[in-house]
Symmetry: C2
């Protein structure tokens, strides 16, 4: 039969990264494409232990339907943890448990966006955010960014001259895909500008805890006095992604809208998975666990940058992230990222083409590289192959 | 700050049932309001065992990001099981794992509904479906129903005279809230009418396996030769709801739209919870487990109807479900359900007011009663109190 789809479906694409992952899952391919955490650090034995305890001590309660807002003790722990790390002042009532932090993107789109409304974003930015918002038929306006995040003057100008801006989406810590982190003065300047507008800010922060050097800045959420900033968080990078537990931290003034939308989207997130994380945090130290993750990822970042310094002799440059999962390559002027990508695939190595991360710009100069999910020997061999590909493209082969 | 919400938010309400549940959770209230399965039957020890095995044997894989479509072996098991029970011919490729079957309602709305489009529904129907679709600013048209489901002639007339019908939503087995089940001739008549139209049918079936007597009819999905019917299913009622694992069964022609929408909504459903259910079905018999559930619920239905026959002496009538979780009260003409409800609350007993289950009709004659979640003594005492309330309302007190 002939299906007639809603008009919003025309703009929605299958995730480019997920499609690429299918190509790059052949074992002979060294893939820097995914955004996967290192599975060797998943606390598998601890999860097994607490899962048993959940069943033994509260199984019949935890396996029943639960409240949409989420498990109270877990919401409290998240509030406490965010306050400690990012200097915020959250209470349990500010926290909504979500099905991965991805769910927040869909919910924010649903709550704030009419067709034609404008979303401001960094460029490049998280590609699944672009797709999630597209479902609500918005348009995007890229805010020019440099190596410190959104440029305040550029943001201000766009706000002054653009109608129907209904949401500003930012990733302030170790941004996906660039790995850059907004310094304090940028955060302040951003908040000062935004304070002049009644436009909500969605601060996505899946990577902030993965800092291997330097000091953590307060979140935008912590600097907000007027319920303007909604903060997204997740256990996917600090614990494991398979459980799909994230959260939203926001003002009680807007929380009921998210609860309503979540009710109709999936009633509540897995109560069993929530209980596992909650008990893990009672019995083990998530802080210590995150330290282990950071030691490993810091090592991998050092190694991959060392390798790139040696292998990337064609003028390609890269960001130097102090945390997170990604760095961002910029190829020399005139070198097509698409060509590099194709040459890489020939050599069984892959990153993600930069073009997917731009809401509107057509860019053919970049590639995203993930280094969190790769043992040393494969980092070395992968970057060697990529260097070879770069030299061949530069030589016009 | 002043929040400016998308226009769709004006139509969305917090779930009436979830709000009522808060009132009725006081321990002194005997509540027939929820739609909760009996927790004493949750296979807690079995879940504990398979959770350990998942961790020990495939922990690092299961706790990682996973495909949006879901765990292949679980998808296959669902297809096989549906084929056995409902006479369908599904393959793994027809099954998408979802975060509860509620997620399907949101996804179907997103995929098929533009503002102003029309959704046809039974009246009364599942209230969270009404809310999920409302997020897409549709309008509803109630198809007159009798004790066998949608009335074919009425459906045909509506289809002939209504523009922009984009979705038909039905619950064919032990409907929520009425408990009625469509007989075979109704299913056939429905499918014959629908075959004349390119309008997708969403067949919600959370209760079909909970049949305590009689024989199961083929699903609409199994009767469909043209990719028109999308079938929804869930483990919430046959296993436990806390894990939030449901599914969609549909044609490969429309599946990619659901995958795309699910990607942007939550990437994938809990891989850990999927693995638990998959392994449970390997090691234990879900069929035997469902038999136990049906024995208990059948007993509770018998008991509650017995009690109602004795206590409801005012002319109130009820449906006699052959399965599922609910029955539906109709009060005598002139008796306000709202008055009965208030009187019931005075006496610390509750059901759900019927009015919440109608997309458009204003109805004040009905109440939904859940009996799956209640031990015998509380059923007896609850119905005794309710009978007292009914007699007092009839007497004008």
């Amino acid at each position: 039969m002939k299906y007639q789809l809603a008009s919003r479906m025309a703009g929605m694409k299958a995730s480019a990264v997920r499609e690429i992952l299918k190509v790059t899952q052949r074992p002979e391919v060294i893939s820097f494409a995914g955004g996967l955490p290192a599975p060797e650090l998943f606390p598998v034995d601890e999860i097994s232990k607490v899962a048993q305890e959940v069943c033994a001590e509260e199984g019949r309660k935890v396996l029943q339907y639960a409240t949409t807002e989420g498990r109270p003790t877990l919401r409290q722990k998240i509030a406490d943890r965010m306050n400690k790390i990012y200097n915020s002042d959250l209470k349990m009532e500010n926290i909504l448990i979500t099905t991965g932090s991805q769910q927040n993107l869909d919910m924010a789109g649903k709550i704030f966006l009419n067709p034609g409304d404008v979303v401001l974003m960094e460029a490049p930015t998280y590609l699944a955010a672009i797709n999630a918002f597209k479902a609500y038929e918005c348009t995007f306006k890229e805010v020019p960014t440099d190596d410190k995040g959104m440029i305040p003057e550029a943001l201000e100008k766009i706000l002054e001259t653009t109608e129907n801006v209904k949401l500003v989406y930012v990733i302030t810590d170790f941004q996906n895909p660039t790995g850059i982190c907004w310094p304090m003065e940028r955060r302040k300047a951003f908040m000062e500008i935004m304070a002049k507008y009644d436009i909500p800010v969605l601060e996505d922060n899946p990577y902030g805890e993965l800092r291997y050097e330097g000091t953590t800045n307060p979140s935008l959420l912590s600097m907000d006095q007027r319920g303007q900033v909604m903060g997204m968080g997740t256990f996917s990078k600090t614990f494991c992604p398979g459980l799909r537990i994230g959260w939203l931290a926001c003002s009680p003034d807007i929380m009921p809208q998210f609860v309503k939308v979540k009710q109709s989207a999936d009633l509540h997130s897995s109560a069993f998975d929530q209980a596992i994380i909650d008990r893990y945090m009672d019995e083990f130290s998530l802080d210590e666990h995150v330290k282990e993750i950071n030691a490993l990822y810091g090592h991998r970042r050092d190694l991959i940058i060392q390798c790139m310094e040696k292998e990337f002799t064609d003028g390609t440059t890269w960001t130097h992230p102090e945390g997170g999962l990604f760095l961002w390559l910029t190829f020399p002027e005139g070198v097509s990222a698409r060509k590099v990508f194709d040459k890489c695939i020939e050599k069984n190595v892959a990153g993600v083409l930069g073009e997917f991360f731009y809401p509107t710009t057509k860019s053919d100069r970049h590639m995203r590289i993930n280094y969190s999910n790769m043992p040393d020997d494969r980092i070395k061999e992968g970057i060697r192959r990529m260097g070879e590909a770069l030299r061949e493209v530069a030589a016009g082969k």
